[in-house]
Symmetry: C2
Subunit: 279 residues, 2 copies
Protein backbone atom coordinates (compact mmCIF):
# COMPACT_ATOMS: atom_id res chain seq x y z
CA UNK A 1 0.00 0.00 0.00
CA UNK A 2 1.33 3.45 -0.92
CA UNK A 3 -0.41 6.28 0.90
CA UNK A 4 0.29 9.98 0.33
CA UNK A 5 -0.91 12.99 2.29
CA UNK A 6 -1.30 15.98 -0.04
CA UNK A 7 -1.84 19.55 1.06
CA UNK A 8 -2.89 22.32 -1.30
CA UNK A 9 -0.61 25.19 -0.26
CA UNK A 10 -2.20 27.56 -2.75
CA UNK A 11 -4.46 26.87 -5.73
CA UNK A 12 -2.04 25.15 -8.12
CA UNK A 13 0.71 24.42 -5.58
CA UNK A 14 0.80 21.24 -3.49
CA UNK A 15 3.08 19.42 -1.06
CA UNK A 16 2.82 15.63 -0.82
CA UNK A 17 4.40 13.38 1.78
CA UNK A 18 4.34 9.60 1.87
CA UNK A 19 2.55 8.19 4.90
CA UNK A 20 3.91 5.17 6.77
CA UNK A 21 0.91 4.78 9.04
CA UNK A 22 -2.22 6.53 10.26
CA UNK A 23 -1.75 7.04 13.98
CA UNK A 24 -5.10 8.63 14.79
CA UNK A 25 -7.99 10.36 13.10
CA UNK A 26 -11.21 11.93 14.34
CA UNK A 27 -13.86 14.32 13.17
CA UNK A 28 -13.99 16.71 16.12
CA UNK A 29 -16.66 19.31 16.80
CA UNK A 30 -14.58 21.85 14.89
CA UNK A 31 -12.38 20.08 12.35
CA UNK A 32 -10.95 16.91 10.84
CA UNK A 33 -8.02 15.92 13.00
CA UNK A 34 -5.43 13.38 11.84
CA UNK A 35 -2.00 12.24 13.00
CA UNK A 36 0.26 10.41 10.55
CA UNK A 37 3.72 8.96 10.65
CA UNK A 38 5.67 9.92 7.53
CA UNK A 39 9.06 9.01 6.16
CA UNK A 40 10.43 12.49 5.60
CA UNK A 41 8.62 14.70 8.11
CA UNK A 42 8.29 12.27 11.01
CA UNK A 43 4.99 12.44 12.89
CA UNK A 44 2.62 15.15 11.62
CA UNK A 45 -0.68 16.52 12.92
CA UNK A 46 -3.18 17.85 10.36
CA UNK A 47 -6.42 19.80 10.79
CA UNK A 48 -8.79 19.92 7.81
CA UNK A 49 -5.97 18.47 5.68
CA UNK A 50 -3.47 21.22 6.57
CA UNK A 51 -0.23 20.31 8.36
CA UNK A 52 -0.22 22.11 11.71
CA UNK A 53 2.97 20.70 13.13
CA UNK A 54 5.62 18.20 12.01
CA UNK A 55 8.28 16.40 14.02
CA UNK A 56 10.89 17.43 11.43
CA UNK A 57 10.68 21.17 11.97
CA UNK A 58 8.25 21.98 14.79
CA UNK A 59 11.18 23.05 16.97
CA UNK A 60 11.94 25.92 14.59
CA UNK A 61 8.36 27.17 14.65
CA UNK A 62 7.82 26.80 18.40
CA UNK A 63 11.22 28.14 19.49
CA UNK A 64 10.71 31.17 17.23
CA UNK A 65 7.14 31.87 18.31
CA UNK A 66 7.77 31.48 22.04
CA UNK A 67 11.34 32.47 22.88
CA UNK A 68 11.37 35.74 20.95
CA UNK A 69 8.62 37.42 23.05
CA UNK A 70 9.63 35.66 26.28
CA UNK A 71 13.29 36.69 26.02
CA UNK A 72 12.33 40.22 24.92
CA UNK A 73 10.47 40.54 28.25
CA UNK A 74 12.65 41.16 31.32
CA UNK A 75 10.52 38.98 33.62
CA UNK A 76 7.62 37.06 32.04
CA UNK A 77 5.62 35.62 34.95
CA UNK A 78 2.18 35.15 33.44
CA UNK A 79 1.91 33.82 29.91
CA UNK A 80 -1.24 33.22 27.87
CA UNK A 81 -1.17 30.90 24.86
CA UNK A 82 -4.13 31.09 22.47
CA UNK A 83 -4.38 27.95 20.31
CA UNK A 84 -1.36 25.68 20.42
CA UNK A 85 -3.34 22.59 21.44
CA UNK A 86 -0.50 20.36 20.21
CA UNK A 87 1.48 21.53 23.25
CA UNK A 88 4.67 22.67 21.50
CA UNK A 89 4.35 26.32 22.54
CA UNK A 90 3.55 25.31 26.13
CA UNK A 91 6.58 23.00 26.20
CA UNK A 92 8.86 25.93 25.26
CA UNK A 93 7.11 28.41 27.58
CA UNK A 94 7.63 26.36 30.74
CA UNK A 95 11.37 26.17 30.05
CA UNK A 96 11.57 29.75 31.39
CA UNK A 97 12.03 29.61 35.18
CA UNK A 98 10.51 33.13 35.45
CA UNK A 99 7.12 31.80 34.32
CA UNK A 100 4.73 31.33 37.25
CA UNK A 101 1.65 30.43 35.25
CA UNK A 102 1.13 29.42 31.61
CA UNK A 103 -2.51 29.41 30.53
CA UNK A 104 -3.34 27.60 27.29
CA UNK A 105 -6.72 28.23 25.66
CA UNK A 106 -7.56 26.05 22.66
CA UNK A 107 -11.03 25.75 21.17
CA UNK A 108 -10.66 22.06 20.37
CA UNK A 109 -10.19 19.77 23.37
CA UNK A 110 -9.73 16.82 21.03
CA UNK A 111 -6.45 18.31 19.77
CA UNK A 112 -5.18 18.55 23.33
CA UNK A 113 -6.24 15.00 24.12
CA UNK A 114 -4.67 13.70 20.90
CA UNK A 115 -1.41 15.43 21.82
CA UNK A 116 -1.41 13.90 25.27
CA UNK A 117 -1.98 10.46 23.75
CA UNK A 118 0.08 10.56 20.55
CA UNK A 119 2.55 13.47 20.53
CA UNK A 120 5.22 12.65 23.12
CA UNK A 121 7.63 15.08 21.46
CA UNK A 122 5.20 17.97 21.99
CA UNK A 123 3.16 17.28 25.11
CA UNK A 124 5.64 17.50 28.00
CA UNK A 125 4.41 20.94 29.09
CA UNK A 126 0.91 19.71 29.93
CA UNK A 127 2.20 17.99 33.08
CA UNK A 128 4.07 21.06 34.35
CA UNK A 129 2.56 22.32 37.61
CA UNK A 130 2.47 25.87 36.24
CA UNK A 131 0.35 24.91 33.21
CA UNK A 132 -3.39 25.58 33.17
CA UNK A 133 -5.37 24.28 30.21
CA UNK A 134 -8.73 25.74 29.19
CA UNK A 135 -10.88 24.38 26.35
CA UNK A 136 -12.59 27.41 24.91
CA UNK A 137 -12.74 30.13 22.29
CA UNK A 138 -9.63 32.32 22.36
CA UNK A 139 -11.40 35.45 21.12
CA UNK A 140 -14.11 35.17 23.82
CA UNK A 141 -11.46 34.40 26.44
CA UNK A 142 -9.42 37.56 25.87
CA UNK A 143 -12.59 39.64 25.46
CA UNK A 144 -13.71 38.66 28.95
CA UNK A 145 -10.37 38.10 30.70
CA UNK A 146 -9.90 39.84 34.04
CA UNK A 147 -6.40 38.56 34.69
CA UNK A 148 -3.38 40.22 33.21
CA UNK A 149 -0.45 38.73 31.36
CA UNK A 150 3.14 39.61 30.57
CA UNK A 151 3.21 37.76 27.25
CA UNK A 152 0.44 36.51 24.97
CA UNK A 153 1.32 33.93 22.29
CA UNK A 154 -1.07 33.34 19.39
CA UNK A 155 -0.42 29.87 18.01
CA UNK A 156 -3.36 29.72 15.63
CA UNK A 157 -4.36 27.87 12.48
CA UNK A 158 -4.55 29.80 9.20
CA UNK A 159 -6.98 32.72 8.94
CA UNK A 160 -9.85 30.59 7.63
CA UNK A 161 -12.60 28.63 9.42
CA UNK A 162 -12.40 28.36 13.20
CA UNK A 163 -9.13 30.30 13.32
CA UNK A 164 -10.51 33.39 11.59
CA UNK A 165 -11.45 35.29 14.76
CA UNK A 166 -7.81 35.13 15.87
CA UNK A 167 -6.81 37.55 13.09
CA UNK A 168 -9.29 40.37 13.80
CA UNK A 169 -8.83 43.94 15.06
CA UNK A 170 -11.04 43.10 18.03
CA UNK A 171 -8.80 40.18 19.01
CA UNK A 172 -5.60 42.22 18.89
CA UNK A 173 -7.17 45.13 20.77
CA UNK A 174 -8.40 42.74 23.46
CA UNK A 175 -4.90 41.29 23.78
CA UNK A 176 -3.42 44.76 24.23
CA UNK A 177 -5.96 45.28 27.04
CA UNK A 178 -5.10 42.05 28.91
CA UNK A 179 -1.35 42.73 28.76
CA UNK A 180 0.36 44.37 31.72
CA UNK A 181 2.39 47.53 31.03
CA UNK A 182 5.50 46.43 29.15
CA UNK A 183 3.80 43.28 27.89
CA UNK A 184 4.38 41.57 24.53
CA UNK A 185 2.35 39.68 21.95
CA UNK A 186 3.77 37.21 19.43
CA UNK A 187 1.62 35.65 16.72
CA UNK A 188 2.21 33.39 13.72
CA UNK A 189 1.48 35.54 10.67
CA UNK A 190 1.81 33.31 7.56
CA UNK A 191 4.29 33.32 4.62
CA UNK A 192 5.43 36.76 3.47
CA UNK A 193 6.92 35.52 0.18
CA UNK A 194 4.05 33.60 -1.34
CA UNK A 195 1.12 35.43 0.30
CA UNK A 196 2.37 38.98 0.94
CA UNK A 197 -1.11 40.57 0.81
CA UNK A 198 -2.38 38.32 3.60
CA UNK A 199 0.68 38.99 5.77
CA UNK A 200 0.45 42.73 5.12
CA UNK A 201 -3.19 42.72 6.26
CA UNK A 202 -2.45 40.84 9.48
CA UNK A 203 0.63 42.94 10.21
CA UNK A 204 -1.33 46.17 9.76
CA UNK A 205 -4.07 45.04 12.12
CA UNK A 206 -1.56 44.12 14.83
CA UNK A 207 0.39 47.35 14.28
CA UNK A 208 -2.88 49.27 14.64
CA UNK A 209 -3.44 47.90 18.14
CA UNK A 210 0.08 48.32 19.57
CA UNK A 211 2.65 51.13 19.81
CA UNK A 212 5.35 48.79 18.41
CA UNK A 213 4.95 45.82 16.02
CA UNK A 214 7.80 44.08 14.24
CA UNK A 215 7.78 41.23 11.74
CA UNK A 216 10.31 38.42 12.05
CA UNK A 217 10.90 35.22 10.11
CA UNK A 218 12.14 31.64 10.27
CA UNK A 219 12.39 28.69 7.87
CA UNK A 220 9.64 26.09 8.37
CA UNK A 221 9.87 23.53 5.51
CA UNK A 222 6.45 21.95 6.14
CA UNK A 223 4.49 25.21 5.97
CA UNK A 224 3.47 26.68 2.60
CA UNK A 225 6.54 28.04 0.83
CA UNK A 226 8.88 26.75 3.54
CA UNK A 227 9.37 30.11 5.26
CA UNK A 228 7.21 31.74 7.90
CA UNK A 229 6.60 35.10 9.51
CA UNK A 230 5.70 36.02 13.05
CA UNK A 231 4.79 39.41 14.46
CA UNK A 232 5.97 40.55 17.87
CA UNK A 233 4.12 43.57 19.24
CA UNK A 234 4.97 45.37 22.43
CA UNK A 235 3.65 47.84 24.99
CA UNK A 236 7.22 48.57 26.07
CA UNK A 237 10.40 46.58 25.38
CA UNK A 238 11.94 46.41 21.92
CA UNK A 239 10.97 42.97 20.53
CA UNK A 240 14.34 42.71 18.73
CA UNK A 241 16.44 42.82 21.90
CA UNK A 242 16.81 39.69 24.06
CA UNK A 243 16.90 40.62 27.76
CA UNK A 244 17.97 37.18 28.98
CA UNK A 245 19.54 34.01 27.57
CA UNK A 246 18.49 30.36 27.33
CA UNK A 247 20.32 27.84 29.49
CA UNK A 248 22.42 25.15 27.85
CA UNK A 249 20.31 22.39 29.38
CA UNK A 250 17.30 23.53 27.34
CA UNK A 251 19.05 22.04 24.33
CA UNK A 252 17.53 24.49 21.86
CA UNK A 253 18.09 23.63 18.20
CA UNK A 254 16.96 26.85 16.52
CA UNK A 255 16.82 29.79 18.95
CA UNK A 256 19.86 31.68 20.16
CA UNK A 257 20.23 35.37 21.08
CA UNK A 258 21.98 35.93 17.70
CA UNK A 259 19.19 34.16 15.82
CA UNK A 260 16.67 36.31 17.76
CA UNK A 261 18.23 39.53 16.51
CA UNK A 262 18.80 38.21 13.01
CA UNK A 263 15.16 37.15 12.64
CA UNK A 264 14.02 40.79 12.50
CA UNK A 265 16.27 41.80 9.59
CA UNK A 266 13.92 42.01 6.61
CA UNK A 267 14.75 42.06 2.90
CA UNK A 268 13.96 45.17 0.83
CA UNK A 269 11.13 43.25 -0.87
CA UNK A 270 9.42 42.31 2.41
CA UNK A 271 9.77 45.89 3.66
CA UNK A 272 8.16 47.15 0.48
CA UNK A 273 5.43 44.50 0.10
CA UNK A 274 4.56 43.71 3.71
CA UNK A 275 5.66 46.06 6.47
CA UNK A 276 5.88 49.09 4.17
CA UNK A 277 8.60 50.70 6.25
CA UNK A 278 9.70 54.13 5.13
CA UNK A 279 6.30 55.05 3.65
Amino acid sequence: MELWFTEEWLPGLKLSVRVKSIVFSKKTRFQELAIYDTEQLGRILTLDNVIQTAEKDEYIYHESLVHVPLFAHPRPENVLIIGGGDGGSLRETVKHPEVKEAVLVDIDGDVIEASKAYLPGWNKGFSDHRARVIVGDGLAFVREAQNQYDVVIVDSTDPVGSGEGLFTDEFYTSIARVLRPGGLLAAQTENPLIMPEIVRGIYRRIAGAFPVAKLYTAPVPTYPGGWWSFTCASLGPDPEVPQRKPEGAWDLRYYSPEVHERAFVLSPGIKRDVTQEGR
Copy 2:
Protein backbone atom coordinates in the same frame (compact mmCIF):
# COMPACT_ATOMS: atom_id res chain seq x y z
CA MET B 1 -6.61 19.95 -19.64
CA GLU B 2 -5.03 19.98 -16.19
CA LEU B 3 -1.27 19.58 -16.20
CA TRP B 4 0.92 19.31 -13.10
CA PHE B 5 4.69 19.37 -12.81
CA THR B 6 5.79 17.23 -9.87
CA GLU B 7 9.28 17.14 -8.41
CA GLU B 8 10.44 14.51 -5.94
CA TRP B 9 12.31 16.58 -3.35
CA LEU B 10 13.31 13.50 -1.38
CA PRO B 11 11.99 9.93 -1.53
CA GLY B 12 8.50 10.38 -0.08
CA LEU B 13 8.32 14.19 -0.36
CA LYS B 14 7.07 15.98 -3.49
CA LEU B 15 6.20 19.46 -4.69
CA SER B 16 3.58 19.85 -7.42
CA VAL B 17 2.75 22.98 -9.37
CA ARG B 18 -0.01 23.40 -11.94
CA VAL B 19 1.28 24.20 -15.42
CA LYS B 20 -0.48 26.77 -17.60
CA SER B 21 1.62 26.06 -20.69
CA ILE B 22 4.74 24.30 -21.91
CA VAL B 23 6.99 27.03 -23.24
CA PHE B 24 9.88 24.87 -24.49
CA SER B 25 11.30 21.41 -24.06
CA LYS B 26 14.35 19.65 -25.44
CA LYS B 27 16.47 16.61 -24.73
CA THR B 28 19.93 18.19 -24.78
CA ARG B 29 23.23 16.35 -24.92
CA PHE B 30 23.31 16.35 -21.12
CA GLN B 31 19.78 16.53 -19.73
CA GLU B 32 16.04 16.97 -20.24
CA LEU B 33 15.41 20.70 -20.41
CA ALA B 34 11.92 22.17 -20.03
CA ILE B 35 10.44 25.61 -19.48
CA TYR B 36 6.88 25.92 -18.16
CA ASP B 37 4.57 28.75 -17.26
CA THR B 38 2.87 28.05 -13.94
CA GLU B 39 0.18 29.81 -11.94
CA GLN B 40 1.96 30.08 -8.64
CA LEU B 41 5.67 30.12 -9.48
CA GLY B 42 5.59 32.03 -12.77
CA ARG B 43 7.95 30.77 -15.46
CA ILE B 44 10.14 27.86 -14.32
CA LEU B 45 13.11 26.07 -15.92
CA THR B 46 13.62 22.41 -15.10
CA LEU B 47 16.52 20.02 -15.81
CA ASP B 48 15.84 16.29 -15.48
CA ASN B 49 12.55 17.18 -13.78
CA VAL B 50 14.16 19.33 -11.08
CA ILE B 51 13.27 23.03 -10.82
CA GLN B 52 16.46 25.01 -11.38
CA THR B 53 15.01 28.48 -11.29
CA ALA B 54 11.54 30.02 -10.89
CA GLU B 55 10.33 33.53 -11.63
CA LYS B 56 8.70 33.69 -8.17
CA ASP B 57 11.89 33.45 -6.14
CA GLU B 58 14.95 33.38 -8.42
CA TYR B 59 15.88 36.88 -7.23
CA ILE B 60 16.43 35.57 -3.70
CA TYR B 61 18.72 32.80 -4.89
CA HIS B 62 20.70 34.87 -7.37
CA GLU B 63 21.05 37.99 -5.21
CA SER B 64 22.27 35.79 -2.33
CA LEU B 65 24.70 33.73 -4.39
CA VAL B 66 26.24 36.69 -6.25
CA HIS B 67 26.13 39.79 -4.07
CA VAL B 68 27.49 38.20 -0.91
CA PRO B 69 30.91 37.32 -2.43
CA LEU B 70 31.01 40.37 -4.70
CA PHE B 71 30.30 42.83 -1.89
CA ALA B 72 32.67 41.00 0.47
CA HIS B 73 35.44 41.75 -2.08
CA PRO B 74 36.80 45.30 -2.08
CA ARG B 75 37.22 45.45 -5.87
CA PRO B 76 35.97 42.46 -7.89
CA GLU B 77 37.22 43.03 -11.45
CA ASN B 78 37.32 39.52 -12.87
CA VAL B 79 34.47 37.15 -12.05
CA LEU B 80 34.06 33.53 -13.11
CA ILE B 81 30.63 31.88 -13.02
CA ILE B 82 30.55 28.07 -13.29
CA GLY B 83 27.12 26.84 -14.35
CA GLY B 84 24.35 29.43 -14.22
CA GLY B 85 23.32 28.94 -17.86
CA ASP B 86 19.95 30.53 -17.11
CA GLY B 87 21.76 33.87 -16.84
CA GLY B 88 20.47 34.99 -13.43
CA SER B 89 23.90 35.02 -11.77
CA LEU B 90 25.42 36.87 -14.73
CA ARG B 91 22.62 39.47 -14.60
CA GLU B 92 23.44 40.21 -10.95
CA THR B 93 27.22 40.14 -11.50
CA VAL B 94 27.25 42.81 -14.21
CA LYS B 95 25.35 45.21 -11.92
CA HIS B 96 28.68 45.82 -10.17
CA PRO B 97 30.51 48.65 -11.97
CA GLU B 98 33.86 47.30 -10.65
CA VAL B 99 33.49 44.18 -12.80
CA LYS B 100 35.62 44.35 -15.96
CA GLU B 101 34.99 40.82 -17.18
CA ALA B 102 32.42 38.18 -16.24
CA VAL B 103 33.15 34.74 -17.69
CA LEU B 104 30.30 32.22 -17.62
CA VAL B 105 31.14 28.54 -18.23
CA ASP B 106 28.15 26.20 -18.55
CA ILE B 107 28.38 22.67 -19.88
CA ASP B 108 25.04 22.83 -21.67
CA GLY B 109 24.80 25.39 -24.47
CA ASP B 110 21.13 24.55 -24.92
CA VAL B 111 20.34 26.02 -21.49
CA ILE B 112 22.02 29.28 -22.49
CA GLU B 113 20.19 29.39 -25.82
CA ALA B 114 16.87 28.61 -24.11
CA SER B 115 17.47 31.45 -21.65
CA LYS B 116 18.24 33.88 -24.48
CA ALA B 117 15.02 32.85 -26.24
CA TYR B 118 12.58 32.30 -23.37
CA LEU B 119 13.83 33.80 -20.10
CA PRO B 120 13.67 37.59 -20.52
CA GLY B 121 13.69 38.05 -16.74
CA TRP B 122 17.03 36.22 -16.47
CA ASN B 123 18.99 36.82 -19.67
CA LYS B 124 19.84 40.53 -19.66
CA GLY B 125 23.48 39.94 -18.67
CA PHE B 126 24.31 37.98 -21.83
CA SER B 127 24.27 41.20 -23.89
CA ASP B 128 26.58 43.09 -21.52
CA HIS B 129 29.88 43.96 -23.22
CA ARG B 130 31.82 42.58 -20.23
CA ALA B 131 30.21 39.13 -20.45
CA ARG B 132 32.07 36.24 -22.05
CA VAL B 133 30.20 32.96 -22.44
CA ILE B 134 31.95 29.61 -22.80
CA VAL B 135 30.16 26.31 -23.39
CA GLY B 136 32.26 23.74 -21.60
CA ASP B 137 32.90 21.61 -18.54
CA GLY B 138 33.45 23.75 -15.45
CA LEU B 139 35.76 21.28 -13.73
CA ALA B 140 38.03 21.02 -16.80
CA PHE B 141 37.92 24.80 -17.20
CA VAL B 142 39.23 25.60 -13.73
CA ARG B 143 41.73 22.74 -13.90
CA GLU B 144 43.32 24.29 -17.00
CA ALA B 145 42.63 27.99 -16.42
CA GLN B 146 45.62 30.32 -16.78
CA ASN B 147 43.72 33.52 -16.00
CA GLN B 148 43.04 34.61 -12.48
CA TYR B 149 39.82 35.79 -10.90
CA ASP B 150 38.73 37.86 -7.93
CA VAL B 151 35.49 35.97 -7.38
CA VAL B 152 34.31 32.54 -8.53
CA ILE B 153 30.59 31.74 -8.34
CA VAL B 154 29.43 28.12 -8.53
CA ASP B 155 25.82 28.11 -9.71
CA SER B 156 25.47 24.36 -10.20
CA THR B 157 22.72 21.77 -10.31
CA ASP B 158 22.43 19.28 -7.45
CA PRO B 159 25.38 16.93 -6.74
CA VAL B 160 24.11 14.18 -9.05
CA GLY B 161 24.65 13.51 -12.78
CA SER B 162 26.46 16.16 -14.80
CA GLY B 163 26.78 18.48 -11.80
CA GLU B 164 28.65 15.96 -9.63
CA GLY B 165 32.16 17.12 -10.55
CA LEU B 166 31.30 20.58 -9.23
CA PHE B 167 31.22 19.24 -5.65
CA THR B 168 34.64 17.52 -5.54
CA ASP B 169 37.82 18.31 -3.62
CA GLU B 170 39.63 18.67 -6.92
CA PHE B 171 37.19 21.31 -8.11
CA TYR B 172 37.46 23.42 -4.94
CA THR B 173 41.25 23.13 -4.89
CA SER B 174 41.38 24.23 -8.52
CA ILE B 175 39.20 27.23 -7.72
CA ALA B 176 41.50 28.24 -4.86
CA ARG B 177 44.36 28.12 -7.40
CA VAL B 178 42.66 30.33 -10.00
CA LEU B 179 41.72 32.98 -7.42
CA ARG B 180 43.95 36.00 -6.95
CA PRO B 181 45.18 36.71 -3.41
CA GLY B 182 42.17 37.94 -1.42
CA GLY B 183 39.75 36.20 -3.78
CA LEU B 184 36.41 34.65 -2.82
CA LEU B 185 34.31 31.66 -3.83
CA ALA B 186 30.55 31.34 -3.36
CA ALA B 187 28.68 28.13 -4.15
CA GLN B 188 25.12 26.89 -3.73
CA THR B 189 25.32 24.11 -1.14
CA GLU B 190 21.82 22.58 -0.82
CA ASN B 191 19.30 22.51 2.08
CA PRO B 192 20.82 22.24 5.57
CA LEU B 193 17.53 21.34 7.30
CA ILE B 194 16.31 18.40 5.23
CA MET B 195 19.66 17.07 3.97
CA PRO B 196 22.21 18.03 6.65
CA GLU B 197 24.62 15.17 5.84
CA ILE B 198 24.94 16.29 2.21
CA VAL B 199 25.49 19.91 3.21
CA ARG B 200 28.03 18.91 5.86
CA GLY B 201 29.99 16.92 3.27
CA ILE B 202 30.09 19.78 0.76
CA TYR B 203 30.92 22.34 3.44
CA ARG B 204 33.81 20.22 4.72
CA ARG B 205 35.28 19.83 1.24
CA ILE B 206 35.16 23.58 0.62
CA ALA B 207 36.55 24.32 4.09
CA GLY B 208 39.41 21.90 3.37
CA ALA B 209 40.51 23.91 0.33
CA PHE B 210 40.32 27.43 1.81
CA PRO B 211 41.60 29.21 4.92
CA VAL B 212 38.08 30.58 5.61
CA ALA B 213 34.69 29.06 4.70
CA LYS B 214 31.34 30.23 6.05
CA LEU B 215 27.85 28.89 5.47
CA TYR B 216 24.98 31.29 4.87
CA THR B 217 21.30 30.83 4.12
CA ALA B 218 18.26 32.27 2.37
CA PRO B 219 14.63 31.22 1.85
CA VAL B 220 13.97 29.78 -1.62
CA PRO B 221 10.40 28.37 -1.68
CA THR B 222 10.82 26.40 -4.91
CA TYR B 223 13.89 24.46 -3.78
CA PRO B 224 13.50 21.33 -1.62
CA GLY B 225 12.42 22.33 1.86
CA GLY B 226 12.09 25.99 0.89
CA TRP B 227 15.37 27.12 2.45
CA TRP B 228 18.83 27.03 0.96
CA SER B 229 22.47 27.24 1.98
CA PHE B 230 25.44 28.77 0.25
CA THR B 231 29.08 28.62 1.24
CA CYS B 232 31.38 31.60 0.85
CA ALA B 233 35.08 30.75 1.10
CA SER B 234 37.88 33.28 1.07
CA LEU B 235 41.62 33.70 0.63
CA GLY B 236 41.47 36.99 2.52
CA PRO B 237 38.43 39.16 3.32
CA ASP B 238 35.81 38.08 5.85
CA PRO B 239 32.81 36.82 3.80
CA GLU B 240 30.41 38.21 6.40
CA VAL B 241 31.44 41.84 6.00
CA PRO B 242 30.16 43.87 3.03
CA GLN B 243 32.86 46.24 1.73
CA ARG B 244 30.56 48.22 -0.55
CA LYS B 245 26.83 48.82 -1.01
CA PRO B 246 24.37 48.29 -3.85
CA GLU B 247 23.01 51.35 -5.63
CA GLY B 248 19.30 52.15 -5.37
CA ALA B 249 18.86 51.89 -9.14
CA TRP B 250 19.70 48.18 -8.99
CA ASP B 251 16.28 47.69 -7.43
CA LEU B 252 17.31 44.66 -5.36
CA ARG B 253 14.43 42.80 -3.70
CA TYR B 254 16.34 40.50 -1.35
CA TYR B 255 19.93 41.65 -0.77
CA SER B 256 20.89 44.51 1.51
CA PRO B 257 24.03 44.97 3.64
CA GLU B 258 21.95 44.04 6.72
CA VAL B 259 20.61 40.90 5.03
CA HIS B 260 24.21 40.03 4.03
CA GLU B 261 25.37 40.03 7.64
CA ARG B 262 22.22 38.31 8.91
CA ALA B 263 22.58 35.46 6.42
CA PHE B 264 25.65 34.11 8.24
CA VAL B 265 23.97 33.79 11.64
CA LEU B 266 23.35 30.05 12.05
CA SER B 267 21.04 28.26 14.45
CA PRO B 268 22.52 25.96 17.13
CA GLY B 269 21.19 22.94 15.19
CA ILE B 270 22.92 23.90 11.93
CA LYS B 271 26.16 24.58 13.81
CA ARG B 272 25.94 21.16 15.40
CA ASP B 273 24.75 19.16 12.38
CA VAL B 274 26.46 20.95 9.50
CA THR B 275 29.35 23.32 10.20
CA GLN B 276 30.27 21.63 13.50
CA GLU B 277 31.62 24.83 14.98
CA GLY B 278 33.19 24.54 18.38
CA ARG B 279 34.24 20.90 17.88
